[in-house]
Amino acid sequence: MTMAAIQDRSHADSGTGIVIDGVSHSYGSRHGSGVLALDNINLDIRENEFHALLGPSGCGKSTLLYLIGGFIPIQQGTIATRKGKVTAPGPERSIVFQNFALFPWKTVLQNIVYGLKKQGIGAAEAESRAREFINLVQLKGFENAYPSQLSGGMQQRAAIARTLAVDPEILLMDEPFGALDAQTRRVMQEELRAIWQRSRKTVVFVTHDVHEAVFLADRISIMSARPGRIQHVIDVNLPQDRGEEILERPEFLELSERIWRLVREQAISASRGEH
């Protein structure tokens, strides 16, 4: 897939895909002799697609998101969006980090307002929009709490609200629901799917949870154990409108089972590789 293809599609829609072309990454050495985390990743994430990344721990999922986000320099290969090659972070590619990364010196409200102000939104509107998103992630009443006063799951929801509020074209999420209890997790999944359907953005969603991936995504990439490679890319042929009822459908269960087997293969080869 080339840049030209991305640009062609952009005529039809304001969305943007992500073309990942031959990307490798190694840590610990400037000359590539350190730990190889990603090995020749080629992946075409379509515009407005909800794409889930599944893979064993340590396979490089976070690293791939950091590269797409432009947080760490690309050592080999290229990553391109409609805006061109990724070289630095930008507000059109916003991220929810695995470890939340809320500013601890700002309250929940101030954290969310911060991102909105950076988009050039005025103080009054920023605050009212921040409050909407606080309600959305069910943190009403905690607007003026500092992150240190919140549980892990609450901090995670506040971080999700901060990122969703700026309405990026590309939304990168690194196990965003990892710290949530099953109940809240389900609510947040439905909420995220609904937001995605309303606002139609490109989402790259990292998770360990096969059901979560199948419920949320249009396509799922399964990565191999380290060094991470894309092992399978699987289409999720489920209806666009997905409510709780879908979880009991035979197609949902079959697909989950199939993906679960593929993920397990990778996990087993990972544990073999460690001996």
Binding site: G70, I95, F103, P104, W105, K118
Partner: protein, 248 residues
């Protein structure tokens, strides 16, 4: 709970012990005047206005040196943390000068700046500068990169990341460095005035000592100690208020 008044009971006990020691006659009063004698001398110094004028002279020197050190030190520490060539240039110099007692520079500073205010202010500035630089630098270097990345991905420029993320994230270290600097400013204020001054509390202590007026000398020493203590408490309350977000 541990009440704040209860916390200072040991100080009271020390005063009582000291009074008993002088009353008992175990220590000659010219070596160690009793607390009541010292309190009397303190009253005289206050009434004559001598203590206040000298204290104002000293404190204004300390404040000038300290404020300059905080401003320059924070700027230099941030610059070191963000700009590699500057770090490579300045870091070894800072490391060599940090552990050196700045009072050793008194004779040199006297040659450079003469006997006026500037020599004392410069010495206080030098002594306070290094703890501020080192703590600002360490704090700024230690900022969790996820904070910087978050701001950048929300659209902050490099300058905004520095101002809105690095500085507040490093604030606990910066404030701790300034607290060390505050203590140094008191130490250097007195020790520089011992050597090079015609007024100030350090000068007062040494001239009262030379003339053998020990109760008054003790009175000035305790005043300096009390002022230093009060400044530190005030500062600690200010810092705690700035760092409210850290408290769970």
């Amino acid at each position: 709970m541990y009440s704040p008044i209860l916390r200072y009971v040991p100080l009271l006990l020390m005063l009582v012990f000291w009074q008993l020691l002088t009353v008992s006659g175990l220590v000659p009063p010219e070596m160690l005047p009793g607390p009541l004698t010292v309190a009397g001398a303190l009253w005289d110094l206050i009434v004559s206005g001598e203590l206040v004028t000298n204290a104002v002279r000293s404190l204004s020197r300390a404040a000038a040196g300290l404020v300059a050190a905080i401003v320059v030190g924070i700027a230099a520490g941030l610059f070191m943390a963000t700009f590699r060539p500057f770090r490579l240039l300045v870091n070894p110099i800072v490391q060599i000068f940090y552990p050196m007692p700045k009072s050793a520079l008194i004779p040199l500073v006297m040659i450079w700046f003469g006997l006026g205010d500037s020599s004392k202010i410069f010495l206080i500035f030098l002594g306070c500068l290094l703890p501020v630089i080192v703590s600002t630098y360490n704090g700024a270097r230690g900022v969790n990169h996820f904070f910087r990345w978050s701001a950048a991905s929300l659209g902050a420029t490099k300058w905004e990341v520095l101002r809105e993320v690095v500085i507040p994230a490093a604030m606990p270290d910066i404030l701790a460095g300034c607290r060390t600097a505050l203590a140094f400013s008191f130490i250097l204020m007195v020790s520089s005035e011992f050597v090079i001054a015609k007024d100030g509390v350090g000068f007062l202590i040494s001239s009262l000592g030379d003339s053998g007026t020990y109760p008054a000398m003790f009175a000035v020493i305790f005043t300096v100690a009390a002022a230093g203590f009060a400044a530190d408490r005030l500062y600690a309350a200010f810092a705690r208020n700035q760092l409210r977000w850290r408290e769970p």
